[in-house]
């Protein structure tokens, strides 16, 4: 695999080893992009910081928590109503965000007193919330505020409250990935093992590296609950603070986003002997294999097979409707960390799209190993590209659509390449069988939307055609199809509801769990499914 020289980066020679072209028959041992390194001077990286990785990715999806940043108010903005990490109890974590609001005087004279005052004020303002996480920022780290000491004082003065401190300032790593690492290990060391959770099933897992983006966790939870599996905690989407304190009692850690959360799984394996099982929640085949191996682990593989067969029968005709129309579409798969490998092979095999490039902003070399292995020869793999490299790649590869975040996505739109939001999604959830069809529908709508054709017309100089009537996506997509496919009565468009999540929540009283002692199947009250009992360990 030869390294790829971007013309725009010839003046930054260090960038050469951050991109490779995957050639036919070549191996990972021939070339692998560098990764997880400090941003090179002269190249403007599109990464986040270590504070962002700790707080905005992993901390804030926890739903019953006051999340407070100890720093300037600007650090905290991004969580406020801009993320899609939803919860099933009112989205407190999205509606409110907190900052201690450090100013110059605090930098000079210290901000501990002010932090304590603000913590107490926040607890009093929201008396039903008894849990708090505090995130150190660059400012509070540099002046050396002892946040842990303040947290201890507040816990002593306010019995019943619990506070977790995450010391991951923005400069604590090359990118947000450094923050993922820090909060994983901090949570494990400070919080895991401090409660005993109630176990109500023979089969108990933690679902790790899953953030409930537009309901991803809830769609996967449905499958696991139908198998009778208790989800002790989800790290961290739609999860309760106290559930995550009881992670040590699971039988298995089911790991989705290894990039952000492998650390806690690895340490739970070392310290508590809980195995780590990496899974894919995306793609019919990969998800089926994942459910099957969870089933094998507990000896309930037949139950897994039943669910897989039921879901595929329900959703495959809809996936295939889109696959027929997406075949040959060129995609740049440019997410943050893990989706390059979660999606690369499945979108190619199941939707027929051609992945012409993969990139990762904050992934490590291990993520590139997975991504390169899973995409087809000819793809360009890039680590931490700058904006000019992204533009050069798009001009060269001419993708029909890119899957990326909103910042590079807006850049793509400027050169009239449609983009899908690979982080927060457009019309998710994208996980699960139903979610995968929703993803296919979003790709279809992105690629074939008539707006793109119109956007190529410059009304200041181009002639506007007046001989054409109303056009739809299908006008374009079906033009190249055979009559057999176009008129198929087997295939159909997505029938998923506008928002499938309320339907999933309404099913909560239908699940049966095997008693841990007797194995007898029984229902578990919905209140317990949502708020499991935990006992404090003194």
């Amino acid at each position: 695999m030869p390294y790829h020289q971007f013309k725009c980066s010839e003046c930054i020679p260090e960038r050469l080893h951050h991109a490779v072209d995957k050639g036919e028959g070549e191996q990972l041992t021939d070339a692998l992009p560098l990764g997880y390194l400090n941003t090179i001077p002269g190249t403007i990286s599109e990464r986040g910081c270590a504070y962002c990785g700790a707080k905005h990715v992993i901390g804030t999806p926890m739903k019953d928590v006051i999340h407070i940043s100890h720093g300037p108010v600007g650090c905290t903005y991004d969580t406020w109503q801009t993320k899609r990490y939803i919860s099933d109890d009112g989205n407190f974590q999205l509606k409110y965000t907190f900052a201690s609001d450090m100013k110059e005087s605090h930098v000079v004279f210290g901000a501990e007193k002010m932090l304590k005052k603000n913590m107490i004020e926040a607890f009093k303002a929201f008396p039903h919330i008894k849990r708090m996480t505090i995130y150190q920022t660059c400012a509070s780290a540099l002046i050396g505020d002892d946040i842990n000491a303040i947290a201890d004082e507040v816990m002593e003065e306010m019995p019943g409250v619990k506070v977790f401190v995450c010391n991951s300032p923005g400069f604590a790593g090359p990118s947000q990935s450094g923050g993922h690492h820090k909060i994983n290990l901090a949570w494990l060391s400070q919080m895991v093992g401090t409660v005993e959770p109630e176990i109500y099933s023979k089969y108990v897992v933690n679902y790790v590296g899953e953030y409930n983006i537009q309901g991803d966790q809830e769609i996967m939870k449905d499958y696991l609950h139908r198998m009778g599996i208790q989800i002790l905690s989800t790290f961290t989407g739609n999860s309760r603070f106290d559930d995550l304190r009881g992670m040590h009692r699971a039988h298995l850690n089911v790991l989705e986003c290894a990039r952000s959360a492998e650390y806690i799984c690895d340490e739970l394996r070392v310290r508590y002997g809980i195995p780590r099982m990496d899974i894919d929640g995306f793609g019919f085949e990969a998800l089926s294999d994942s459910l099957l191996k969870i089933g094998y682990f507990f000896g309930i593989e037949d139950k897994a097979r039943e669910i897989i067969a039921e879901e595929i029968a329900r959703w495959k005709p809809e996936l295939d409707w889109y696959a027929a129309r997406l075949k040959g579409i060129k995609v740049c798969l440019w997410p943050g960390g893990s989706k390059l490998w979660h999606w690369a092979h499945s979108i190619h095999k199941e939707m027929g799209v051609e992945v012409v490039s993969v990139y990762t902003k904050f992934g490590h070399q291990g993520d590139m190993e997975k991504g390169i292995s899973r995409c087809e020869p000819g793809a360009l793999a890039i680590d931490d590209p700058n904006e000019l490299e992204g533009l050069e790649a798009m001009y060269e590869l001419k993708p029909d659509v890119i899957f990326t975040g909103k910042r590079p996505g807006e850049v793509a739109k400027k050169i009239r390449v449609p983009y899908l939001n690979a982080h927060g999604y457009h019309n998710g959830p994208y996980k699960g069988f139903e979610g995968w069809v929703r993803f296919a529908r979003d790709i279809y709508n992105a690629v074939y939307s008539p707006i793109h054709k119109l956007s190529f017309l410059d009304i200041s100089k181009d002639e506007i055609p007046t001989d054409k009537g109303f056009e739809t996506q299908q006008t374009y997509s079906d033009a190249r199809l055979s009559d057999e496919v176009r008129n198929s009565t087997e295939l159909r468009q997505c029938t998923s509801k506008y928002d499938p999540v309320p339907g999933l929540r309404a099913k909560e009283d239908s699940y049966l769990f095997p008693d841990p002692e007797t194995g007898e199947l029984r229902k578990v009250p919905v209140e317990k499914l949502r708020k499991n009992k935990v006992v404090e360990i003194e």
Partner: protein, 118 residues
């Protein structure tokens, strides 16, 4: 089975694993050695009709469940396995283990593999 045929068949199995399996990518070299050893050994045992569960603790059960899922997929993708003798399967799987240890560990360019801590 001559060596060339065994290597061709091994390459098919390797292709499946690199494309579909996430267990080979743990982030440390010593961890990858354990994953390869335990899962590929159990896969060979299952393909040869042997008992692959040792003591049924969580760790062993995990390796076994990865292997059992892999064996199902192998049989789905590669029907020639049904007609392959136990000796030949053992030969192919030994080659596979050797290749994966090289690609994922000994010859890997991933500089994180040698870090001692997670």
């Amino acid at each position: 089975m001559d060596k060339k045929t065994a290597e061709e068949k091994m390459s098919q199995l390797e292709w499946y694993i690199t494309k579909h399996c996430l267990w080979q990518y743990n982030s440390r070299g010593w961890d990858r050695e354990i994953q390869n050893e335990r899962i590929l050994t159990k896969t060979r045992q299952l393909l040869c009709g042997e008992n692959a569960l040792e003591d049924n603790n969580y760790a062993d059960r995990y390796y076994w469940s990865e292997a059992a899922t892999l064996v199902e997929a192998f049989k789905r993708y590669f029907p020639w396995l049904e007609k392959t003798s136990k000796e030949e399967i053992t030969e192919i799987m030994n080659l596979l283990k050797e290749k994966m240890d090289y690609t994922m560990i000994k010859g890997s360019l991933n500089s994180e593999l040698i870090k001692p801590q997670y």
